[in-house]
Amino acid sequence: MATGLQRSVTATGGGTEAPPAVVVRNLRRSFGDTTVIDDLSLSVPAGQFVTLLGRSGCGKSTLLRILADLDNEISGEVRIASRRAVAFQSPRLLPWKRVWRNVVLGLPGRPDRARALAALEEVGLAHRADAWPKTLSGGEAQRASLARALVRDPELMLLDEPFGALDALTRIRVQSLVEQLWQRHRPAILLVTHDVEEALLLADRALVMEDGVISHSVDVTLPRPRSVTDPAFVELRAELLARLGVGASSPS
């Protein structure tokens, strides 16, 4: 069973390493005979934006579900911030609740409309607060799901390919929205993606998952906002692609 972690009191920055929002040691998860996560260790400091890359089926979602405390058939040590929020590839809004009620679902006390509207305002969706979820477009629904995560003021946000089902233009917009929200609220973010460019645009640190462990970790120190045409960016992308085994300089 995952245990809650103390809320960090100190702010990030100032040179010293922030207290962790995620600590994983010697994590193991098997489905029957296949071991998907095999002796994985990982630490994410509070406020850090981490992206997790890896081939399809390498266990990214499995790891994320463990960190979301949705799966505890595990061995090893997992400690996660107690205030956390999750957004999935599909928005997973309850179709029978209006958008604003979805946003504040699960919060203690009576549904607080003002609070929901504030979160929806941040993702630019306040005007759809009273809509039924099934009438939202894909991008709107995904932003509503981000508002639902945001309203909990999380110390840790777990995002499992939240842009995966969006069209290219909407994707760019929601990506930069996530970056803005992160800069404003500074939660630790673990974003699963299979898009190297996206990983490098957003991350402080890009992780590569392979054979059940974190095989590479790349610190991304490029100044924000980043541009895909920046030579340093291009170089970093080539390096990461090579590590994923698909770049031009990929070892055979």
Partner: protein
């Protein structure tokens, strides 16, 4: 791979759309030589265009609620004419007009309203009782593993008993008053509600349950905000089945030793060969069934307004 450009000056050269449906002998389709471009460009077949009819335009003419009753009314008129011309016997079945006057008589002397009330009360009581039992069992079986193990197999077994066959047993158990009739309705009603509610609970989208867990809903919150609303469409389907069965059960129950109610009215009519009264009762049963169905549809509209349902082509 090469990118082909269609020969210039064909479609839309004057800013007009290519012709399609209007022109019967479309040049592209007949493959006349002019359609072939220079040097092996494929024959350009003009697509046949269909005009999209706006929804408003399609509904012009006689409104639906006027059109639909025309068929049944014609049928009744034909029957009445057959009776008047003497080609249909009124011994076997009363004529539509006789049925109408009998209906007026039965309403006038208060016999029919009284019978309807008695029958409605039986159906209502049975429905409440059976509905309560069916839904409670479904909640226990759907929400708890222990409940499933204890309840589901037993219910599935009893379900195979045709409920009409239980009438003799119910008479022995409950006598001949109201209770065997209510019990029969309750028995018939409980199963469709059980089955649909149980299936509804078990088919709630697991990804939604997971998402609700990540926002911190506990077991009670999950049941209240996710599982029950998710099962509601199925419950309403079950309710519709149940209401149909409630009438059926009522008709069976009232055929046997009833001294009040619609079934009693029918039985007495049978003794006196009054087919007109029998038909009046049948029509009343049908109308009540329709009314109840309308109520359920209204419920669906109110409770499932979140669902952009397919409203029929």
């Amino acid at each position: 791979m090469t990118i082909q450009t269609f020969p210039a000056g064909k479609d839309g050269e004057n800013g007009t759309p290519p012709e399609g449906t209007e022109k019967t002998d479309s040049p592209g389709r007949s493959g006349e030589p002019g359609a072939t471009g220079a040097q092996g460009t494929p024959v350009e077949v003009a697509p046949v265009l269909t005009t999209v009819v706006p929804a408003g335009a399609r509904r012009r003419g006689v409104p639906r609620w006027v059109r639909r009753p025309v068929g049944p009314l014609c049928l009744l008129a034909a029957w009445q004419i057959a009776v008047w011309t003497g080609s249909a016997s009124t011994e076997l079945l009363a004529s539509p007009w006789t049925v109408v006057t009998t209906f007026a008589d039965l309403v006038g002397n208060g016999e029919l309203p009284k019978a309807i009330l008695v029958s409605l009360r039986r159906a209502g009581t049975g429905l409440l009782l059976g509905g309560f039992i069916g839904i409670t069992l479904a909640l226990l079986a759907g929400l708890f593993r222990l409940g499933e193990d204890l309840i589901d197999a037993a219910v599935q077994m009893i379900r195979t008993v045709p409920f009409v066959g239980l009438i003799p047993l119910f008479i022995i158990w409950f006598g001949i008053g109201e209770r065997p009739k209510t019990a029969l309705v309750a028995f018939g009603v409980a199963f469709p509600l059980y089955l649909n509610t149980y299936a509804g609970i078990r088919n709630v989208d697991a990804t939604l349950v997971e998402a609700a867990r990540t926002v911190g809903l506990g077991r009670a919150g999950l049941i209240r905000h996710v599982i029950l609303p998710g099962a509601l469409p199925n419950v309403l389907v079950g309710l519709r089945f149940s209401l149909g069965i409630a009438w059926l059960a009522l008709i069976f129950a009232e055929q046997i030793n009833a001294n009040r109610g619609l079934g009693h009215l029918m039985n007495r009519a049978q003794e006196f060969q009054r087919t007109d009264i029998i038909v009046v009762c049948l029509v009343v049963y049908a109308l009540l069934g329709l009314a109840v169905d309308a109520v359920v549809r209204l419920l669906e509209r109110l409770l499932l307004s979140w669902r952009p349902a397919f409203s029929g082509a």
